[in-house]
């Protein structure tokens, strides 16, 4: 069986989520990768080095530059014959494009799988991860998005895949890119960070987030937030960890002033070590924390910063 993985990238760099997706795909068959973008040579070359990848299909056209689903989905459909499975990471790109592919092929999509049981059977979280469903697909081709925290990354080096160009790319002329406001940060990306420090409603204001950033910089961590903190405008939407934001599983997750609504827990409860700092000892976050500290965060966080210097 052959499996096609849709690469996550920004035309300059291949994103780590691709590696986890390749690892899931490798359990199903021989892996090819599609790099769809514009001037994405460097990405295709990086993808070709991933261990175990047979071919890298490079589709290079202006219509694909910003990953518009209306243009990328028909391309994937065109390439689909010969593949038993098509996988993409469950990033906002993957979530945007893959259901469009599935509908065009008249098949179901299996969203956010966390493990592969067999070629047609997968485990996926439902109800914000409060239940895990094992589902079997009867469709001829399986369209899947992969929850990257469920799979260890495939080795980025060691492969030497053949590069092939894909032609016949058309612009559906249904949509166009009009701009973006991306959060610029020197810190690691939330979804691939080894350590994350997140703030919630208890932070009281966006002006207090530099307290967390200071600690993040000492630990090489990413900064996240609960939905409450994002809704209150403390930090931008891309900080949100939870059922409908980002799902993370770092080695260390420090929750500061976060009460622990099930929707937030859904996004971080697979972290290896969880620390909770909250002044309310009844806060549900303590039920999932490995280490809990009942304290006023405005005292505990500066103390933590000082202690980390020792």
């Amino acid at each position: 069986m052959s499996v096609l993985v849709i690469a996550e990238h920004d035309n300059a760099e291949l994103k780590p989520a691709t590696l986890n997706t390749v690892a899931a795909a490798a359990q199903l068959g021989d892996v090819d990768i599609l790099v769809a973008g514009e001037n994405c040579n460097a990405v295709a070359n990086t993808a070709a080095k991933i261990a175990g990848v047979g071919r890298v299909l490079k589709a290079d056209a202006s219509a694909l530059k910003t990953g518009l689903a209306e243009n990328v989905a028909p391309l994937i459909v065109q390439l689909s014959s010969g593949y038993s499975h098509i996988l993409a990471p469950a990033t906002t790109n993957g979530k945007n494009i893959m259901p469009r592919v599935a509908a065009l092929l008249d098949v179901a999509q299996i969203s956010e799988i966390t493990s592969v049981v067999s070629a047609d059977t997968f485990v996926r979280p439902i109800y914000a991860g409060n239940a895990m469903a094992t589902v079997q697909s009867s469709d001829a081709i399986k369209i899947i998005t992969v929850r990257t925290t469920g799979f260890d990354a495939a080795p980025a080096e060691g492969g030497s895949a053949a590069l092939e160009d894909v032609s016949n790319i058309t612009d559906a002329a249904l949509s166009s890119f009009a701009g973006q406001e991306l959060t610029v940060s020197e810190r690691p990306e939330l979804t691939s960070a080894k350590v994350i420090i997140s703030g919630g409603r208890g932070m009281q204001s966006g002006e207090n987030f530099p307290m967390l950033e200071e600690i993040a910089d000492k630990l090489g961590a990413a900064v996240g937030a609960s939905r409450a903190a994002v809704d209150a405008g403390f930090v931008p939407n891309d900080y949100q960890v939870g059922q409908t934001g980002k799902v993370v599983a770092p080695d260390l997750y420090i929750a500061v002033g976060i009460s622990g609504a099930i929707q937030h827990l859904a996004g971080m409860k697979d972290s290896k070590v969880i620390v909770a700092i909250n002044k309310d000892e009844e806060a549900p976050i303590f039920q999932v924390a490995d280490y809990g500290l009942v304290a006023d965060l405005f005292e505990a966080v500066p103390d933590l910063s000082a202690e980390l210097n020792k």
């Binding site: 949509s175 891309d238 999932v288 280490y291």
Partner: protein
């Protein structure tokens, strides 16, 4: 301009769900059911378009059991004009919902369909994108802002890196994210008024749609529980534990 919104009846977001004893599904008997929160945002956006004079009519759509009429009724109480229920007792998958929606769209000819980005029960995040594909329409997923102009719609999307804005040719499908708006509560007079609004009921057979599931649920289980942790006295002890016990810093 006509706007269609889709709403789903789901287990209320505050309910702590339980897996049933034979591990085949999540227990939904005697559990509080509500409108999917993302769909409330879709309904609210439709009402705002009506209030702004952009939309002339707002239709609330659902696929599901008879009780889904209550969910549609909630949308009518919020401000939708009329409802359409495609009634079925089968657990419908997103592809089937998209096919039912397509059939209704072809009858009603709305210029804009707004749906929640995901339902909080199956967490699929598929229906809007699938509908756009089946209709050959543009799609604006995970929307946090909409600006309509003649024949096109500017959608700001919540993406992994921040925000992205796309221009979509109308007709279009939009899926809502959390920051698009804050849905209103239905007032008592509006709840009373909603009782007089019509809900047309049809079914997949009448629409000529095969809704049989493509996925078989073999098992539903509780996730592995985390072991109880310990409380630390102070920051000094915390850092010591992280360095010497957990060894994560």
């Amino acid at each position: 301009m006509k706007v269609l919104v889709a709403v789903k009846r789901v287990v209320d977001y505050n309910v702590k769900i339980r897996v049933n004893s034979d591990q085949t599904a999540v227990e939904t008997a005697n559990v509080k059911m509500s409108m999917n929160p993302f769909d409330e945002i879709a309904v609210e956006e439709g009402i705002r378009l009506k209030e702004a004079g952009t939309a002339s009519e707002l239709i609330a759509f659902s696929v599901g059991p008879k009780q889904s009429q209550e969910t549609i009724r909630t949308a009518l109480a919020m401000g939708a004009d009329r409802g359409i229920l495609v009634e079925t007792d089968i657990m419908v998958e997103p592809l089937a919902v998209a096919k039912c929606l397509k059939a209704i769209v072809e009858k009603e000819n709305p210029d804009l369909v707004i749906v929640g980005k995901q339902a909080i029960d199956d967490d699929s995040n598929q229906t809007g994108q699938m509908l756009a594909a089946l209709l050959g329409w543009s799609q604006g997923t995970f929307a946090s802002n909409l600006i309509l102009s003649d024949g096109s719609i500017k959608v700001t999307r919540e993406v992994d890196g921040g925000l992205e804005t796309v221009d979509l040719k109308m007709p279009a499908v939009v899926t809502t994210d959390l920051r698009l708006n804050e849905p209103r509560y239905a007032s008592l007079p509006n709840i009373m008024k909603a009782k007089k609004k019509t809900i047309d009921v049809t079914n997949p057979e009448e629409l000529g749609i095969d809704i049989s599931p493509r996925l078989t649920v073999l098992k539903v289980e509780e996730p592995a529980k985390r072991l109880a942790g310990v409380m630390v006295e102070d920051v000094v002890q915390l850092v010591d534990k992280l360095r010497n016990e957990a060894k994560v810093i």
